[in-house]
Symmetry: none
Subunit: 284 residues, 2 copies
DNA sequence: TTATCTATGGAATTTATGTTGCATTGAAAT
DNA sequence: ATTTCAATGCAACATAAATTCCATAGATAA
């Protein structure tokens, strides 16, 4: 009586579902086994298709898909589909082990732990993003421009400021001449007035855009100072003024973004510039 | 009559769509531009979400999404969504592909490429490190201490300064009272003189240790101000003055360290503090 | 200012999608 | 052979989603 055992505990991630399917594969009815095989072989189809299209493709009835889902503890096909979609979203393939380690580690017990884990995971994702989104040629061009400059002007405000602050520190150590704008209000204009075509600027601005940085970049560009910029959107007003620009979207946790990937990028750029200068200095 | 020119030729892949959007971004009406920006910034959401959920997230009407799609030659929103889904299908941002992308990608052909790859890889390693080395209980205690403070004093110099600078920005947004030391030399002492037992401090110092930060932390500790600190060595002189301290070793590339993991940690701490405060405020 | 056309928000409409119910089939047990 | 129960296919149903329509607000030109 009362078939309540039908929904014990649905798996919450793809891997969990996978092992569960493999465990029960032998005991599954014919059509359900058919679906199981199809699901593991074509996970992407399950993620994107509709119940009807998937059913046709797997040569079963749509209702079979629902029964399959319910058989594994889900409320219906839709809930099962979420697992397959989440798998594509979180795809930090190769880092999935680390992420599982994260969600299963001691942190998640405590309230603040999930926040901590969230930012670590977001950091990984961000780094994956830039690895794919930064074009090598652009990076090389940016290095060329900045390494060729007499003085590198660093432009950033608000959220972006820590990035240039760090670059400033590193430039200092690496003996690269620079000027950091934005330290004290008011003197920026005088500072930037000294920039000429033989210099170059690196500007960072994330939305919401600090208009000052954008204006300053525009000003420099109008005076033939080559500008390299880093932003989080192809729509950034910075892009217009820039010879080379990079789009770098930091993954967020609960809407908050850290600067993990930006810092890696900034450091790579900084060191690459110094390295190029060293070689130029030696070679000629 | 007969508006048939409305559907000339919809882009057939994501990249085609992207360049088309960027070309016309200037001439787009307000809401359509809003959708354009959202679409390029959150492609995954478009791929998986429903028109209603996406519209809510982008703060437009569902009908605007349809108009946006039609504006770019698609029959409706659904057709446009296919492009975003296809992008995820094809882009098997697969595990091996990622690793190959890093070790053998286009970057490594170019001189600067290996530097770029190196810092991305170092970032990943750093994040792995903190995931394992930060004890959940310690993190929780640190959050407790800092969330309970009236004013949070942020202490950092040199290489560590960008971290507290970023925290300062975030605290400002989150309405947490703070004081950032080290902005202008000389006034620090006056600033810190105001700190009392009901406040708290967060100090960051990596080797080589900036003696000022260490001294300031010691000073505050002697005046019963609880100190939480972040360092890269268990032997850091900061540890002595701290109620809770974290050891966080950033992986390096060719001897240079970026701040990827530190930034993730700082942001996690910042948000956790704000979250805890919000809850304390609500509960009593 | 007025007229005209575009852009926009919100509701109505229509499409299609997931789910459930029911009759039938097939297999196992008596 | 007969009974019983699970499994399956098919069609009706209910729901949710995309799309279209219309009234209004905003911009542009006369």
């Amino acid at each position: 009586m009362h078939e309540m055992d039908s929904r014990p505990s649905p798996p919450q991630d793809f891997d969990g579902l996978k092992v569960l399917i493999l465990e029960r594969k032998g005991q599954l009815p014919k059509r359900l086994a058919q679906v199981a095989a199809y699901a593991l072989d074509n996970p992407d189809e399950i993620a994107f298709g509709t119940a009807a299209s998937i059913a046709a493709s797997a040569d079963v009835q749509p209702s079979t898909l629902v029964r399959f889902a319910q058989h594994f503890g889900f409320e219906g096909f839709s809930s099962l589909q979420q697992i397959f979609r989440a798998r594509l979203r979180e795809r930090t393939p190769g880092y999935d082990e680390r992420l599982r380690a994260l969600s299963g580690n001691d942190h998640s017990r405590l309230e603040s732990g999930s926040i901590f884990n969230g930012f670590v995971a977001a950091g990984h994702r961000s780094l994956d993003n830039i690895a794919g989104s930064v074009a090598p040629e652009s990076f090389e061009r940016a290095v060329d421009i900045l390494a060729g400059a007499e003085t590198v002007y660093l432009l950033a405000k608000r959220r972006s400021y820590p990035i240039t602050a760090y670059m400033a520190y590193a430039f200092g150590k690496l003996k690269v001449r620079y000027q950091l704008a934005g330290t004290a209000a008011g003197i920026d204009d005088d500072l930037l007035a000294m920039a000429g075509p033989r210099d170059a600027a690196f500007a960072v601005s994330f939305s919401p855009y600090a208009s000052e940085s954008v204006d300053q970049a525009r000003l420099l560009a109008s005076r033939k100072v080559p500008v390299v910029s880093l932003t989080d959107s192809a729509f950034s007003p910075l892009a217009e003024s820039s010879k080379v620009w990079f789009e770098l979207v930091e993954a967020d946790h609960a809407g908050f973004r850290s600067l993990s990937a930006s810092m890696a990028f900034a450091m790579a750029l900084t060191v690459a510039i110094a390295e190029k200068r060293r070689r130029m200095g030696v070679e000629g």
